[in-house]
């Protein structure tokens, strides 16, 4: 992508800047139900990314002309907070965040059973509190946990991760430096049950072979994240369930 530097992103032993190997994820932390007033919410940390997602609805769709008489629509708003990057990010929607909002909404529409709620709207708000490459993936990962937490019927939970190329090597889950000085960034989201791809973009260049390697690295990584997502939801609700039994 843009920028040249003499920074060595991957050393001779194949170890990356943060000490990871090519196919290794950053540390991931997922929590469900972090906001009191949202119908559903989630908090995700992927490395230095810190992301919060809130879901409201299904609720009456405003403005009315957006309503679809046969299904619910998903309205997503991806927003980077002013302090999320080292240079202050000018607040408000811009070309980039409008695009990300759209692709995330479309990815979520692939799993949510929208036909159950005609004319309604499901609103997803994603706030990036700290950004370090791969925020759209972290945002989508958080949003799908938040949707499940809101009790919205869906076929599956979507995990998402970026793969890319830096120093000529295909790497999983790029960090800021690899993203800035690398050659390609490919965010991917899948439906784990069927391995369908619901989000795929590519910024930069890769050969066909590198792309295939990238996909084959991302899919198992997505399944790994999927387990963490399910675990986050179960952790939140299992505690109260332990004693369930006789009564009722």
């Amino acid at each position: 992508m843009s920028g040249q530097s003499n920074l060595e992103l991957v050393n001779k032993k194949g170890i990356r800047l943060g000490g990871r190997k090519a196919g290794e994820l950053r540390d991931i932390k997922i929590e469900a139900g972090v906001l009191e007033n949202a119908d559903g919410s989630a908090y995700v940390e992927i490395g230095k990314n810190k992301v919060r997602a809130a879901v409201y609805g299904p609720r009456e769709c405003h403005p009315r002309h957006l309503q679809n008489p046969t299904r619910a629509i998903i309205q997503c708003k991806y927003n980077m907070m002013a302090f999320s990057v080292s240079d202050r990010k000018r607040p408000g929607p811009d070309r980039r965040s409008v695009e990300i909002s759209k692709i995330i909404a479309e990815a979520l529409e692939a799993v949510v059973l929208t036909e159950l709620y005609p004319r309604a709207s499901i609103d997803v708000y994603i706030e990036i509190m700290q950004a370090n490459a791969g925020t759209r993936c972290a945002g989508l990962t958080a949003a799908s946990v938040a949707l499940a937490d809101a009790g919205i019927p869906m076929r599956d939970i979507i995990p998402s991760i970026a793969v890319g190329k830096a120093d000529g090597k295909v790497l999983l889950d790029l960090n800021k430096e690899e993203d800035n000085f690398g050659q390609a960034d490919v965010p991917i989201a899948i439906i784990p049950k069927t391995n369908e791809i619901v989000l795929l973009q590519m910024d930069g260049n890769m050969t066909r072979e590198e792309f295939d390697t990238a996909i084959s690295m991302a899919v198992p990584a997505c399944h790994e994240i999927y387990e963490l997502q399910k675990d986050a939801l179960k952790r939140r609700y299992a505690a109260a369930m332990k004693e369930v039994g006789a009564d009722e």
Binding site: G151, M154, A246
Partner: protein, 230 residues
């Protein structure tokens, strides 16, 4: 067949979890893919007489015909009212569906914006167009008392097995209570008693997922009520 009884198989499931592939029938909150049944929403797995379904833990109230709900008047038209029933859809109440004789354009003399009514869901069609009615025994405009809002998924717990929980609260606190399926509960009675009843309902909502709740609610109300009664 070694199918375990539903009481033992209770577990939290999330969307996409495999529920069954041995020939049970799919129920609420499930979907079928390649002949296997999966969960479509967050909830508790429930197997009952050959059907596997999900008891939702979260989610908005979706009206079903016959549900008794508490609604608030949100808007007035010349021949109908719009009732907010805490669901994603507006619920019109037509003048023919109220127990009064209303002249055209005279709707605001009977129900005004903000008034609370007891209503029954008359009809819900496939495009989620709703109609509510007040033409049923006991349905009326509420003039006094207090409204508590809880998650609608906890309503069945407040009512209890064949009404045992709500009957106990009514008897012990000496309050009049109406539980709407949409999670709104109306409580009326002596001010102190109402406070106890409301606290008890909130306790049920908080601890809905625990066992022996009826017993603990009973103890809770006893501890609050005793000082005044004796």
């Amino acid at each position: 067949m070694n199918r375990v009884d539903n009481r033992q198989t209770r577990e939290v499931v999330v969307p996409g979890d495999l529920l069954d592939d041995s020939g049970l029938r799919p129920g609420n909150g499930t979907y079928v893919l390649d002949g296997k049944i999966y969960a479509s929403r967050l909830g508790v797995k429930n197997v009952f007489s050959g059907t596997v379904s999900i008891i939702p833990l979260r989610g908005r109230y979706i009206p079903a015909p016959g549900d008794m709900v508490l609604g608030m008047i949100a808007d007035i038209g010349p021949s109908n009212w719009l009732v907010d029933i805490n669901s994603p859809y507006p619920a019109p109440l037509h003048v023919n569906e109220v127990p009064w004789k209303v002249e055209f354009g005279d709707t605001s003399r009977f129900l005004r914006i903000g008034d609370t009514i007891m209503a029954k869901i008359l009809m819900v069609d496939e495009s989620m167009k709703i109609q509510v009615t007040m033409n049923d025994s006991g349905l009326r405009k509420l003039e006094e008392g207090q409204i508590v809002e809880i998650a609608h998924s906890k309503v069945s717990r407040v009512i209890g097995k064949s009404g045992s929980m709500i009957q106990m609260i009514k008897n012990m606190t000496d309050c009049r209570i109406f539980v709407g399926q949409n999670g709104r509960i109306w409580v009326d009675g002596d001010a102190d008693d109402v406070t106890v009843a409301v606290d008890a309902i909130k306790m049920i909502e908080r601890e809905a997922q625990t066992s022996n709740l009826t017993e603990r609610v009973k103890e809770f109300i006893e501890s609050k009520i005793k000082p005044e009664e004796e």
